[in-house]
């Protein structure tokens, strides 16, 4: 199936157009990339295999979740679209991990998939500098400039040529995609859409190293065939918190739709075990590498054989459809086994499948070919984002798309490119991991990957990143001013609170007792009381007479900063140390062969990864602290 084919249907097509930027693919990465470029004033065209699949959600029907919610907040603070779009189209919302520390609170919303896609399409359509085009891009056009490749345009399968100054590849799971359901294999992208068959060859001819990854999705089941009385209802939060910092919370307190919880059982597992020989994964038909964090149900049953049941979440796909997503049961087993297996679950005894579960294989790149700016090291003007870079997930895709878009725009505008570091954003962690560490599976964001997570909270993404977004040009002055004012109010209030003395009077003691808190021996500051685990800034308003009227988001920051001050200060110190090496930049032309004392392994790795800073160099496996010292000494000498 994958033999080399003609990349153009005709050589007679003389259509030629000129743009500043070409975006290939209109998924979550492509949309953010295209919007960023267009909003920065560049003439942009976005290609998609099907206009109807713009911002499509081919897998889970939700946005956010642990650490992914952080990404969405960061996208929003930088001026991206995902947060706004989900705020307009969600049907249920939940703040996860509320009982845990603020750093791991994470917002997740169930989306109405059709609305999500349509709303994003509307946003793209209304962008003045943006053209949407349905076509398959089949070839990258490059030329040599000063011994380095440079991208100058793309060609479509129809033979048309689009000249441009930068290209952003966001091909998702479409490149040479094939879907597997048991013995059935189709050479299609997700949801039966056409695969993109030709571009891989062109990339390889340009020296791009290609990986093959796989992922999967569960079946969708007809809502009318489900007996919900046998499942536990999972409701949304009473008070809904928006994703976007620009959404007014009052305007999104909607009636929510529920999700449902059920479990697999021994019978389910037995059916799966009995049919493993018909699973392409276990029969060795699948060649791509799958993600360990998103295992198929057959994987779970085999690898965690001691578990007698697995949780399964039944989630609505939208208000206009009867389809319910079976979260936790992705599979590549054949259709007949799927039906049998799903029907063993309480409530699914008479389940009718609307769409089969399937595994999908696709081409992506080894992301170590990219700079942290998401530009290809060997091809100037070529950027990429999303699953094409070896990640997985809508949110991971969107944030890369945004950064790739920003940096493509910056390069066309001749401005400095933007790299977020690990102490600034989860986005920084994600991109740094992708381009610095070895990848063997689709990369998912996880909160444990962010070493400075106490600082990188979802609640302060606006404070962390709005300034950046404003400087880039994607955030309005008005919004930036709002954040500056917010920051001022927070600091002012922290200062005031530290000076409020609380005496051991009767009213105070009674209040403390009522909160289950130990009474005071002597007077103390309000700050000290806020630090008590059973108390908070909010509840202490009862004994804080002079408290100014502050908005919820300011009060939240005051509370967090006071309560976790010790930890936050500790991490800030670590960040200070981290920044020292991060701020020592290495030029793209740096010649590691000129440094005499580097060990061979380190030299090879450094030449391969071409880190942009000493900090990044220190994170490459095989580069020792001594090698870093040697680099520092060398660079000092050359200064």
């Amino acid at each position: 199936m994958f033999e080399k084919k003609e990349r153009c249907s005709t050589d007679k097509n003389r259509l030629e157009e000129h743009y500043d930027i070409v975006v290939v693919g209109a998924g979550h990465a492509g949309c953010e990339a295209a919007l960023a470029c267009a909003r920065l004033g560049l003439k942009t065209i976005i290609f998609t295999i099907s206009i109807d699949s713009i911002a499509m959600m081919p897998c889970n029907p939700n946005i956010g979740g642990s650490s992914k919610g952080h990404l969405v907040r960061e996208i929003d603070a930088l001026g991206g679209e995902m947060g706004k779009n989900i705020d307009k189209t969600f049907i249920q919302s939940k703040m996860l991990n509320k009982s845990k520390g603020p750093a791991v609170h994470s917002l997740r919303a169930q989306a109405d998939k059709a609305d999500y896609s349509m709303e994003m399409r509307r946003t793209l359509q209304s962008e003045r500098n943006l053209t949407i085009r349905q076509a398959e891009v089949s070839e990258l056009i490059t030329e040599e400039e000063n011994e380095k490749k440079k991208v100058t345009g793309v060609r479509t399968y129809s033979g048309a040529t689009y000249h441009c100054k930068a290209v952003i590849l966001c091909t998702g799971t479409y490149l040479r995609a094939r879907c597997l359901t048991g013995e059935m294999i189709t050479y299609t992208g997700p949801n039966g859409l056409m695969a993109a068959t030709y571009l891989t060859d062109s990339l390889e001819e340009n020296g791009v190293e290609i990986f093959r990854f796989k992922t999967g999705t569960p079946a969708r089941i007809d809502k009318n065939s489900i007996d919900f009385s046998k499942m536990q209802e999972q409701k949304g939060d009473e008070k809904i918190v928006p994703f976007s910092f620009s959404t007014n919370p009052e305007e999104i307190q909607i009636d929510q739709v529920s999700c449902w919880l059920t479990y697999t059982n021994e019978k389910t597992h037995e059916i799966i075990r009995n049919h493993l020989d018909r699973s392409p994964l276990y029969a060795g038909v699948i060649e791509g590498t799958g993600p360990r964090y998103c295992p198929s149900i057959e994987d779970k049953v085999v690898r965690f054989a001691d578990k007698d049941r697995h949780q399964i979440f039944i989630e609505p796909e939208g208000l206009h459809t009867n389809e319910m997503y079976v979260g936790g049961m992705s599979s590549s087993l054949p259709e007949d086994v799927q039906q049998e297996m799903y029907r063993t679950l309480p409530g699914l005894e008479h389940a009718v499948i609307v769409r089969n579960a399937y595994a999908i294989e696709y081409d992506c790149i080894n992301p170590n070919q990219l700079y942290a700016t998401l530009e290809f090291k060997k091809i100037k003007g070529l950027f990429s984002g999303g699953q094409f870079n070896g990640s997985s997930g809508y949110e991971e895709a969107a944030c890369q798309g945004l950064l790739a878009g920003i940096n493509a725009a910056m390069s066309v505008l001749g401005k400095e490119q933007v790299v977020l570091d690990r102490s600034e954003a989860y986005i920084g962690v994600l991109i740094d991991d992708l381009v610095t560490k070895e990848t063997h599976e689709p990369y998912r964001m996880m909160t444990s990957r962010a070493e400075y997570r106490l600082l990188l909270r979802q609640d302060n993404a606006d404070i962390r990143l709005t300034k950046k977004g404003y400087e880039i040009g994607l955030v309005s002055k008005e919004r930036y001013d709002y954040v500056c004012e917010k920051e001022r109010l927070i600091e002012e209030e922290i200062e005031r609170v530290s000076k409020v003395r609380i005496g051991a009077g009767k009213e105070v003691q009674e209040f403390l007792e009522s909160m289950g808190s130990i009474p005071l021996n002597t007077g103390t500051s309000l700050t000290e009381l806020i630090r008590r685990p059973e108390l908070s800034y909010e509840v202490l308003s009862a004994i804080d007479k002079e408290r100014p009227n502050l908005s919820y988001d300011v009060a939240e920051q005051v509370n967090i900063r006071i309560k976790y001050d010790g930890y936050i200060t500790r991490q800030k110190k670590q960040v200070e140390h981290f920044k020292k090496l991060e701020n020592k930049k290495i030029s793209e032309e740096f010649n590691y062969d000129d440094v005499p004392s580097l060990r061979m392994e380190a030299r090879q790795k450094l030449k391969l990864y071409r880190p942009l800073s000493i900090g990044q160099a220190s994170r490459i496996s095989g580069v020792s602290p001594a090698d870093i010292s040697v680099l520092l000494v060398y660079m000092e000498q050359k200064k």
Binding site: S66, K100, G101, S330, S448, S597, P625, S629
Partner: protein, 461 residues
Amino acid sequence: MKTDTIAAIASAMTNAGIGVIRISGEHAIETADRIFKGKDKKILAEAESHTIHYGAVFDGAEKIDEVIVLLMRGPRSYTREDTVEIDCHGGVYVMKRILETVIRNGARLAEPGEFTKRAFLNGRIDLSQAESVMDLIQSKNEFARKSSLNQLSGAVSSAVKNIRAGLLYEIAFIESALDDPEHISLEGYPQKLKNKIALLSEEIDSLLCGSENGRLLKEGISTVIVGRPNVGKSSLLNALLNEERAIVTDIAGTTRDVLEEQIQLNGICLNITDTAGIHDTDDVVERIGVEKARTCLRKADLVLFVVNASEKLNENDDEILKSLERRHVIVLLNKSDLDTVTTIEDLKERTKESQTFRYLSISAKERSGMSELEEMIRELFFSGQIDLNDEVFITNLRHKAALQEAKQSLQFVLQSIEDGMPEDFYSVDLMNAYEELGKILGEAVEDDLVNEIFRKFCTGK
């Protein structure tokens, strides 16, 4: 440029007359003030640069040594940073104590070559010397890494690995619950973690306890004395022991048949194992001893092969000779005070291997030839510029610091549990402990955690 404060021993690690401990960095003077009490009661922070102060170093209330302190404020110092040099009475023990005290009071142990690196980066060393600075850093680190691994005893390394595995499991559990709160619950977990941490802390304690006696490391050159029965092995050991009266510790042998002693010969540290005489025997108990002797022989860095020069060589000597291939061997022709029957030439004729051996006539009984022996060992092991003992000692200190750091982090976790902090705060300190212990094994953290999460816990959509 602001830098953290580092410390190291700047003189040779021998029992020489004067030892120098150097502290450099932003808080060097402050650190020194915490442990130094000047005779004139003045504090260093208020003293002029380039002044000398007489006083004593204290570890808490305990006076360690009388010292002279040199105060040099940056940039007029080797590193161009604030620098304090403590000149103490020489002696490995004193230097070690002072350095440890300095480290407990705010400095960190310098990386190999770090003073030179700082001197260079701060413009103190001529740019033309960059290359040699880089070589120095690379070679010192390489050596430290090697010696760190080589010196770590098997039991310690497996204990550290176990503790780390325990920590990693707990972190992975917490993290999977954070990543997938709907699948994994932390209900009742803090209490469980508390018990687990108590156990792990105990294990760290027992390692720390060992480190006090220098047992973390196979400090020094592992040396074995072999020979057939009754050639004077034990007298040799006694002679060596008396030579400098410098027994640091006596490490209990694994059985009564093998006795291990630690000896310091003018700065060279030897772990000497005296073995049962190797000979053919039918006695069961004796045979165990002989087996042990053979095992020690295989593991040793240095073999002292004792023969009785007043007797003829026999088949037992031949057998020992055979097992000495490609080893560092010094053949000691003992009993030189008696009539010589066996000569060096006799030995050289026995095997080809023996051509590469070194030979020395001694009399253990009369204690003659001991300084020549010492010189020979020195030549064998220290022909390079590298001073093995410095590195070994530093390694031990590094390990100890890492253990203490890890223990401290676990205390923080207990405190967080006590304070009712949310679970995600635990993993910050647990991870810190994990990383510190990793330093002992020379292992980078890489993707351990993510791998453990996927291996042990079933998460995901």
